[in-house]
Symmetry: C2
Subunit: 214 residues, 2 copies
């Protein structure tokens, strides 16, 4: 089984390299958004697109079933493609390469890839992105980084989301950040509330800087 897994990952990495090359040539800053189901990724994307103004954004949505998320993104005016993985538990670089071809990507733009909600399997699959961004909502408890360490190790940035709910929870923000740093000492953390707007300035600055440097 180890050999089969290595073959799958090697094949994936070849496609990921091709995606990365295309993105670099066109100055596109691509992020791979990973999290548990229900951490608020799609709401975050909709709010982000609205706030980015003139900066062009395209979105690839991954889910086992339904096109609900792509429909929500398209309602903002941004182009979006839905990938349904069926039995599959993660996006792979081959699927993403096809979706990139179908999307009308602008040069010097942002590409957001919303992975299947799963804190385990997407950690192993490079899609050609600049960074994995892990979204952890405060309703999920503090200990997720040490219980699912591969994902938090693979991510460059953790968005600690739904901070508007903190007054109603018994939640220790410092503990969550400290757990994340224990598995990944260099991970950057931004506390946000996508629904209320807290922390969005810092997140938008990260995105604008990424596009400028892509």
């Amino acid at each position: 089984m180890v050999q089969i897994e290595q073959d799958i990952l090697a094949k994936n990495n070849t496609f990921a390299q091709a995606n990365r090359q295309t993105l670099a040539q066109r100055g596109i800053f691509a992020l791979n958004l990973v999290s548990s189901p229900g951490s608020g990724k799609t709401t975050l994307l909709c709010k982000t697109i609205a706030l980015l103004g003139q900066l062009p954004v395209a979105v690839i949505e991954g889910d086992q079933q339904t096109s609900q998320d792509a429909d929500r993104i398209r309602a903002t005016g941004a182009p979006a493609i839905q990938i349904n993985t069926g039995k599959g538990c993660h996006l792979d670089a081959h699927m993403v390469g096809h979706a990139m071809q179908q999307l009308d990507l602008a040069n010097s733009s942002l590409l957001m890839i919303e992975n299947v909600g799963n804190l385990v399997c997407p950690a192993a699959f490079d899609l050609g992105e600049a960074h994995k961004v892990v979204i952890l909502s405060v309703t999920e408890g503090e200990d997720k980084p040490i219980k699912y360490p591969d994902m938090f190790r693979a991510a460059s940035l953790m968005l600690l989301n739904k901070t508007d709910l903190l007054p109603y929870l018994d939640y220790d923000v410092d503990a969550a950040v400290s757990y994340a740093r224990r598995v990944n000492p260099t991970i950057r953390v931004i506390q946000i509330s996508a629904t209320r707007g807290d922390g969005m300035d810092e997140w938008l600055a990260f995105l604008r800087e990424g596009v400028a440097q892509a």
Copy 2:
């Protein structure tokens, strides 16, 4: 790849049948608790054990890393074993069979198996349990049943958890139940708040009845 997947599932099903036979012979009611990370499974288990009184309960905990959950369970006085899956995204019947041998299981008792937090992969793996119970927290949004239909189809019971947070959310309980019924018309739904105690009577009655009939 399809052949390999079938081989893995066939092998798993053989172990699951052996577990099921052992459980039936000893009158043990076993549940496989599945959900996203952070839905509140461990808190629910701790509260449930405290409320069950004299009914013997043992717990098998699945996580990629750490023994935090088993430690929390053992603090209640119930026997618990932690399985760390490492890179793995789900428990399988072979792991559970070994854990059952190590646990000091009482006849006519309850065995709770807390799977790895993942709404995708554990759906395909029978552990020998009487039922899969899917926990959906209201902070995860209403649409998870249709986006992760395999899991909600595989479960007999959905616990809609964290209802104490409903006043602070824009959440439509009827929509969540209706989505669950769309993929699984016979699924039973109990609304609970493990932290506040709402709905626990109905859940405990389900458990007591299951043990009585096992």
